[in-house]
């Protein structure tokens, strides 16, 4: 399970960094990649479902705990992605026509798309930073330890515990 979660996170993170730059992929791939990354993001979210419900019910009990910051940040990232997808669909040149959606974009969606992408990048960076210990320990446990034939002594703990 740890291995699956790690590789899903690597896929989302790498995909997000690449998808943020349409110049690196071209517009159609940029749009489809972001859309697929969002569905994988939901899977990432589901892995933390129990933690999310637990923190929701106890949010105000220990307000200044690091997990509360993680919680708020998770919501910001989620809403940020929804904003990126919604505004992206409105100005889409590939996905929307493919699924038969011809939307009257109106004004503002392009700027919202750019702003949401930049702010979500910051939120994702902060999310990454707050989980650095988990990322480092998991990387050592599932990649470096088998690579060098070491028996893992690394206990990987959730960064999002209460």
């Amino acid at each position: 399970m740890l291995r699956t979660r790690f590789w899903i996170d690597v896929f989302i993170f790498g995909g997000f960094l690449i998808a943020l730059e349409p110049h690196s992929t071209g517009t159609p791939l940029h749009e489809w990649l972001t859309l697929s990354a969002f569905s994988v993001l939901i899977v990432h979210f589901l892995f933390h479902w129990e933690w999310f419900l637990r923190t929701t019910t106890k949010f105000f009990q220990n307000l200044f705990h690091i997990s509360r910051l993680n919680y708020v940040l998770a919501i910001v990232v989620f809403v940020g992605f929804i904003t990126i997808i919604t505004s992206g669909l409105m100005i889409s040149e590939s996905v929307s026509p493919t699924i038969g959606l011809y939307l009257d974009a109106g004004r503002g969606w392009g700027k919202i798309h750019e702003l949401a992408a930049n702010l979500t990048l910051l939120a994702v960076a902060l999310h990454f930073a707050l989980h650095w210990d988990w990322i480092r320990n998991t990387f050592v446990k599932i990649i470096l330890d088998p690579l060098f034939g070491r028996k893992s002594q690394n206990v990987v703990q959730e960064a999002t515990h209460d």
């Binding site: 992929t25 919604t86 990454f128 930073a129």
Partner: protein
Amino acid sequence: MTRAVLRFFTVLLLAIAIGVGMYLAMHYIFQPLANTVDPDTGTHFISRNAEPIHVPGLKSMARGVLSAGKNGVVVVFVTVVVEAGFFILSKINKRRKQAG
């Protein structure tokens, strides 16, 4: 398994509801408001990048890879700042404990 699928669709439904909410808010509130306040501005999205980006050539591909790298640098920068912050906080707490 069924529970996981159910949860997946719950989150997806929530995402769609928020997205539709955004669309309706823009369509019925913010865009009419913007059209009233500033009717002269065009409705087209003006990209920072003037050139078309449909087919990535070698040059734009290289620039794209650099841009993706730039996003990586943002992540590394934020991580270093946050870790340095945690390190300093832990040192301060340690000194406080020793003094106390």
